[in-house]
Symmetry: C2
Subunit: 128 residues, 2 copies
DNA sequence: TTCGTTGCAAACATTTTGCAGTTTC
DNA sequence: GAAACTGCAAAATGTTTGCAACGAA
């Protein structure tokens, strides 16, 4: 019994916004970005659609930074750098993504589905 | 102006509890574990002390799983396995921890302080 | 006696949800 | 017209904080 998906202008805009940024934004950020274009947009709709995208695999959650979940439309696993001071999240492309396959595809009898690699530190700006 | 630390039986118990488990517990879990021993323990105290330990480097946060922060008294960075179904967090000891040093010690002009490696999947029990 | 620590409850912040009205098909 | 989608506000959840009482030095 899957429910039929219907088109929605706002849903499309939410996905498009997420796809057009490299900032790995929070729901709030997407909301703020779209609010001027859709004055009647509500934060609940952003959450609802993000969670919908996640279930469909269109979006992943990179990490929870300072209490906020951060999303990425780039679902192919790849490492990130997180600045623990300002909360910035950046892609690291340089690293071979063979690391996830690093010999671990099952662990203690469980299945490994993907591997998250998060480098933590201070970004350039926060170093002063 | 650092404040003089005073001994506290509850604080000691919180750290001891965290050190004596491999479950990478949440604040709530520690609270539940200690409540029978300290009937007047309050959840706020657990949070206050955990945050204190974190600032002192006695404790790290492994990840946020299902909205709850998960702590570890083993502060030496090491990879973890997270079951996305039941939320179990397990140590992976088998992996060489030279991986964190994997050529990334600065990134885009920022300093990398440590690297978090999280394998996600379904644990043995959740596979059915 | 001083000042760090705690319980308690209120405050907070983020995310989820129920419902009535709206939009898509 | 039926069913999905949304705004709104309330609720739920996890965490933090203010304050008066308590406990360690």
């Amino acid at each position: 019994m899957k429910s039929a998906r219907k088109y929605s202008r706002k849903r499309e805009a939410i996905l498009k916004t997420l796809r057009s940024t490299k900032s790995h934004p929070s729901a709030e950020w997407i909301y703020a970005k779209l609010k001027p274009l859709f004055p009647d947009l509500s934060l609940g709709t952003v959450y609802r659609n993000l969670s919908l995208f996640r279930n469909e695999g269109l979006v992943t959650s990179v990490a929870t930074v300072k209490g906020q979940e951060r999303f990425d439309a780039q679902v192919h696993p790849h490492p990130h750098f997180i600045c623990d001071l300002c909360g910035k999240v950046m892609d690291i492309d340089a690293l071979p993504d063979s690391i996830p396959a690093l010999g671990v595809d099952d662990f203690a009898g469980g299945d490994v589905e993907y591997c998250e690699i998060l480098f933590h530190g201070k970004c350039k700006d926060c170093k002063q």
